[in-house]
């Protein structure tokens, strides 16, 4: 590929690509991000290629192995173009049939999504509730883009925003457009992107750096991975445009090493962009030079914090440093550095192409555009979802997420990762945007959304997150390191039934100091899991401490299993399955749990047929004494039943 030396040459290339394409051509795309591959999508893709060749259809049908399409619950997903028919849970055996039916214009009913309530089959992707309520702009083209092929991206207006910026806009104009779009950082606090850019632009010092933060580390969050794997060029294009606006000559992709596919696809994207003259010296003949390197992270959560990330790029241990002077002024090697999240950068080309006005038409007053969330936990449709900012939590969880698994009750949703907070049911109708989440004591973070049902114990959850942070704190400053350590001990004691009066106050005291006195944002927000659970679920803490009761019936040390003699049918199932021989029972004799042997593993509870429901979990009350021996015999001879 010869280098493109002007916007005109770029336009010619684009037209050439488009002229070879036909919108109505048949196409098959398989969702093949990391999650799809976990389900074997790469093998299925190979089978598709083989089958198309075999049937002599490789010219007639375009096949693409694309990035993650978000609907993790139903992977591997296959989309049939041009209609966008959606097949779910596709298996390797389905391949010949899909190829065959596609060419015949037929639909395979068996592979369609069925509405969980009506059972009605849904043909098209956009009609499936999971997709129907989403607004995919950043994730929009994933199904049509082979991330390893720059032409796919260019065909869908890719790099035209860069071409436009370099040929029609001054750097100031680009910055002005981003400012007008009111774009806010997608990685954490929602800081206005244009202010960061401006600050780096105006700070003295050369070279200036721009950085993509793809050190996604929140438990259950993977939207950055999805984007880097599925559409790396969109992030790269955003970065180049940002560099142009800021006056940066060097850029970094900081990608965690645990994302090998993201690293692979990004490497290739950089190489292709360089070959096309979209990156490197004299980009599109504009005189603007910009180079990019990939820095692979080494597995530290804290390296997602901007100053720690920059320290890691310098080759040192990724630990945060004081930011009283912002990294936008003194960042990597003390030079002005703008760091934005993957998703923030990916929004830039869209804003340049479609204008700030368009961007402002999506979202709320102070939070514009869309946001991608990792919707996980006890929700029916887990996956990556992109919604306009301001969508109520309820819509995300119920309309898109399909509600809570097994018909259980919604209890809370955790947003923003370990540094975020827990939002209870009474706030389900709150709109999701940067400021609303903050008001509720949580935050947007990078977009993790963990849904919890009624069986979730909030003290246990706080304990989980605090333990996570104990491991992931860098340990540099006292409040974060020592505060978390003490908080984790207190919480462990509470869930173990050893909570003491005064524990809640101690937790609150620690939380208060860590949130004001820690060195970095990770430390400052490390108290959020404790603060929000205390704010909304203090009664659960009190029950654990004062009554030694776990209201969610989860904390092992505080619950007992008990067989209700009224319901026990002496079926022997629990008896046979108890791994510690704690169940005293025989045929026709009501079973009893020997509490001294019971390890509270819950097997009996899970095994007892739901129609009996004889095994109960109890907490905060003594286990009723076993029924007298003489009453254990069930007076129901088998023969009677047969009559």
């Amino acid at each position: 590929m010869p280098r493109l030396n002007s916007p005109k040459e770029f336009e010619e290339l684009r037209n050439k690509i488009l002229s070879k394409r036909n919108k109505n051509k048949l196409g098959i795309s398989i969702s093949s991000g990391t999650c799809g591959r976990a389900y074997g999508s790469d093998k299925i893709a190979a089978e598709f290629i083989h089958e198309l060749k075999k049937q002599g259809l490789d010219e007639k049908i375009d096949f693409r192995e694309v990035g993650c399409l978000g609907f993790c619950e139903r992977e591997p997903l296959v989309i049939i173009f041009p209609e966008r028919i959606c097949y779910i849970n596709v298996k390797i055996e389905d391949v010949p049939e899909i190829v065959d039916k596609t060419v015949k214009g037929e639909i395979i009913d068996r592979l369609l999504y069925a509405d969980p309530v009506s059972g009605e089959k849904i043909v098209h992707e956009k009609e499936i509730p999971f997709y129907k309520y989403q607004k995919k702009i950043v994730f929009g083209n994933i199904a049509s883009i082979d991330p390893k092929n720059i032409e796919d991206y260019i065909a869908l207006s890719g790099y035209s925003a860069l071409s436009k910026s370099l040929s029609e806009m001054t750097p100031e104009k680009v910055l002005e457009e981003v400012k007008k779009a009111k774009l806010r950082g997608r990685g954490g606090g929602g800081f206005p992107t244009s202010i960061k850019w401006e600050s780096t632009k105006n700070a003295p010092g050369e070279p200036k750096y721009v950085i993509v933060n793809c050190d996604e580390g929140d438990p259950g969050a993977y939207m950055n991975r999805g984007l880097m794997e599925g559409n790396p060029h969109s992030v790269l294009e955003g970065l180049i445009i940002g560099a142009y606006a800021i006056g940066a000559s060097e850029g970094f992709f900081y990608i965690r090493q645990e994302y090998p596919l993201a690293v692979e696809n990004t490497k290739l994207a950089i190489k292709q962009a360089e070959e096309h003259g979209l990156l490197g010296k004299n980009i599109l003949g504009s005189g603007f030079d910009f180079t990019v390197k990939i820095h692979e992270g080494a597995g530290a959560f804290v390296s997602g914090e901007s100053s720690a990330l920059m320290t890691a790029i310098e080759g040192r241990v990724g630990e945060p440093r004081p930011k009283y002077v912002h990294t936008s002024e003194k960042g990597v090697w003390g030079k002005p550095s703008t760091l934005n999240n993957v998703e923030t950068w990916a929004n830039v080309p869209l804003i340049i192409n479609k204008g700030a006005g368009w961007f402002n038409s999506i979202g709320t007053e102070r939070s514009k555009g869309t946001k991608i969330f990792s919707l996980v936990g006890k929700v029916n449709n887990t996956g990556l979802v992109e919604v306009p900012l301001g969508m109520p939590l309820r819509d995300i969880i119920y309309k898109i997420g399909g509600g809570i698994q097994k018909g259980k009750k919604f209890k809370a949703v955790q947003t923003g990762g370990p540094s975020g907070g827990i939002i209870p049911a009474q706030h389900l109708d709150s709109p999701v945007d940067f400021d609303e989440l903050k008001k509720l004591g949580s935050m947007m973070g990078s977009g993790g959304m963990i849904v919890m049902d009624e069986d979730t114990c909030m003290v246990d959850i706080a304990s989980y997150f605090v333990n996570f942070l104990c491991d992931e704190s860098c340990g540099k400053c006292v409040p974060c390191r020592e505060g978390l350590k003490q908080a984790s001990i207190i919480l462990e004691n509470i869930v173990a039934g050893k909570g003491k009066a005064g524990d809640i106050k101690k937790l609150a005291d620690i939380a208060e100091v860590t949130s004001v006195a820690s060195l970095c944002a990770l430390g400052k927000t490390s108290a959020n899991p404790v603060l929000t659970t205390l704010r909304y679920f203090k009664d659960e803490y009190e029950a654990h401490i004062n009554e030694k009761r776990c209201p969610a019936l989860l904390c092992k040390e505080l619950i007992s299993y008990y067989i209700d003699p009224e319901n026990c049918k002496a079926c022997m199932i629990c008896f046979r399955n108890c791994p510690s021989d704690a169940i005293i029972g025989e045929k026709m004799k009501i079973h009893v749990i020997d509490q001294s042997k019971c390890t509270k593993c819950g097997t009996c509870y899970d095994m007892c047929p739901p129609r009996f429901g004889a095994v109960k979990k109890i907490s905060g009350e003594p286990v009723p004494p076993p029924i007298p021996e003489e009453k254990r015999l069930i007076k129901r001879p088998r023969k009677e039943k047969r009559d």
């Binding site: 530290a300 804290v302 241990v317 440093r321 004081p322 009283y324 002077v325 942070l469 104990c470 491991d471 992931e472 704190s473 860098c474 340990g475 540099k476 400053c477 006292v478 409040p479 390191r481 020592e482 505060g483 978390l484 350590k485 003490q486 984790s488 001990i489 005064g502 101690k506 005291d509 620690i510 208060e512 100091v513 004001v516 006195a517 820690s518 060195l519």
Partner: protein, 475 residues
């Protein structure tokens, strides 16, 4: 100062002051004699902001209040600082309570916590003997000033600790003691696998291992003379002769010596025969990884070891010996010290040699320092330049070392003070004397003043470099 354009006005505890741009709040408070506690701060080091006890409350020009650390918060115009607000008090109080729970027996923390009303921590105490608050001063002084990085943080989060790499004997520690000097809690941590040799440590080692008359610059000794052996080594070949003699007489059964490897690179090896010792003769002007070999030999069951090294290696060897003696009372280490003013970092030296002399150090047949000149012999031809010109290649740590003669060795050997072809020998112990007994050598005249001049110069340099470290240390 007053009225100067670069002065920034701010308010601290109600006092209106003007100060230099770039100052920290702590700098200003110190000038005004406002007391702000600090634990991880040292004026000679970059601010770190880890302990947070220097927290103060500021109000910015938009009226927002927040807690910041005074050690690294730069002053700005119109800044209002409160160092004594209720919030500041409570913040410091809890931080100190957390630290007291970490280090309940450390007096410094006890005293400071008491000032904030905390007598006993209400939190869980993991290890009542813990004495390290993880302020990082040891690691930072070693990296930022000494330039060695022998000690640093390891692990993450609540597992964070201070240690030498891989929890094993440090090959890099020069025993300068900077870490122990700056440690605010006198933690034991800096003495595990790293070997700070403070004045009292040196005295103790002298009493334990040496015998003779004390001298501030030459160290404890019984004899000092010039000597020429029959071995062709550096100068009089005495270091090699001593080793061979000791080896033949069974004074030790393994010696850790430094041998040239590829080109002029050097590496510590364990010599277990006369031949191996002979192979290692000749001076190498760079420091190599040596100390871990001591541990290696002891683990192999060796109890009679010799080590030949520069003063920094001599003193760390002595400290290791002291520590190992508690576990292996039969251990005997014979230490042969080499005079050393400073050592080079091999890679940097190679660069500088190419730059200054136009020759490749890897091709050198011999290198020597003679009369202030660094001489490299290639293909029989000498190339030289003043040693001073090679200052860029000097290894980290040398500027903080105050020992020229290897004062803790059993016997020191060097070229300074003797005529060409002779080595200066300083005998410091019974063991040193014994080592000399069977060596054939010719005695010559020694110029003590020459040795003392260099030793004095080295000591002064170290003292000058240590002054700011000592001055800022909180004890």
């Amino acid at each position: 100062m007053e009225g100067s354009e670069k002065e920034i006005p701010l308010k601290i505890d109600g006092l209106e002051v003007k100060t230099k741009k770039g100052s920290s709040i702590l700098d200003v408070a110190k000038k005004l004699e406002i007391n702000i506690p600090t634990l991880c701060h040292h004026p000679a080091l970059e601010p770190f902001g880890a302990c947070r006890v220097c927290s103060v409350e500021i109000t910015d020009n938009r009226g927002r209040k927040k807690i910041v650390t005074s050690c690294n918060y730069p002053v700005s115009e119109g800044l209002v600082v409160d160092t004594k607000s209720e919030k500041v008090y409570r913040t410091r109080q809890l931080l100190l309570e957390l630290l007291l729970a970490r280090c309940p027996k450390v007096k410094k923390i006890q005293d400071l916590a008491r000032e904030y009303g905390v007598e006993k921590p209400s939190f869980w105490v993991e290890d009542p003997e813990e004495d390290c608050i993880l302020c990082g001063l040891c690691a930072r002084v070693c990296e930022e000033l000494v330039g060695v990085s022998a000690i640093n943080f390891a692990n993450r989060g609540v597992e964070r600790e201070v240690t030498a790499p891989y929890h094993t004997i440090s090959d890099d520690c020069v025993g300068c003691g900077a870490c122990a000097i700056v440690c605010p809690t006198d933690s034991k941590k800096v003495r595990i696998n790293t070997y700070p040799m403070l004045e009292e440590d040196i005295r103790e080692a002298e009493e334990q291992f040496l015998k003779g008359t004390g001298d501030e610059l030459l160290g404890v000794h019984t004899e000092i003379f010039a000597a020429k052996s029959s071995i062709k080594g550096q100068d009089g070949g005495m270091a090699t002769a001593l080793l061979l003699s000791g080896f033949e007489r069974g004074l030790f059964d393994a010696a850790i010596v430094v041998k040239r490897t590829v080109g002029y690179k050097a590496e510590a090896i364990i010599a277990e025969s006369a031949e191996e010792i002979l192979n290692a003769r000749g001076t190498k002007y760079s420091r190599v990884k040596m100390m871990s070999k001591v541990g290696e030999l002891v683990e192999k069951g060796k109890r009679k070891i010799a080590i030949v090294g520069t003063p920094c290696e001599v003193r760390t060897a002595r400290k290791i010996q002291q520590q190992l003696l508690t576990e292996y009372p039969s251990l005997e280490i014979t230490v042969v010290g080499l005079f050393c003013f400073e050592a080079f970092d091999y890679d940097k030296l190679k660069e500088e040699t190419t730059r200054l002399l136009g020759v490749d150090l890897d091709k050198a047949e011999k290198t020597q320092i003679h009369k202030g000149k660094f001489i490299v012999t290639v293909d029989g031809k000498d190339y030289s330049a003043k040693v001073k010109k090679f200052h860029n290649a000097i290894q980290g740590g040398c500027a903080y070392c105050n020992d020229f003669v290897g004062r803790l060795s059993d016997v020191s050997v060097g070229s300074v003070g003797s005529d060409e072809g002779y080595s200066t020998v300083i005998v410091r112990s019974e063991k040193g004397k014994k080592l000399l007994e069977n060596v054939d050598f010719v005695k010559g005249d020694v110029n003590k003043e020459e040795i003392m001049k260099l030793a004095g110069f080295k000591k002064k340099r170290a003292e000058k470099n240590f002054a700011p470290i000592l001055e800022g240390a909180q004890k």
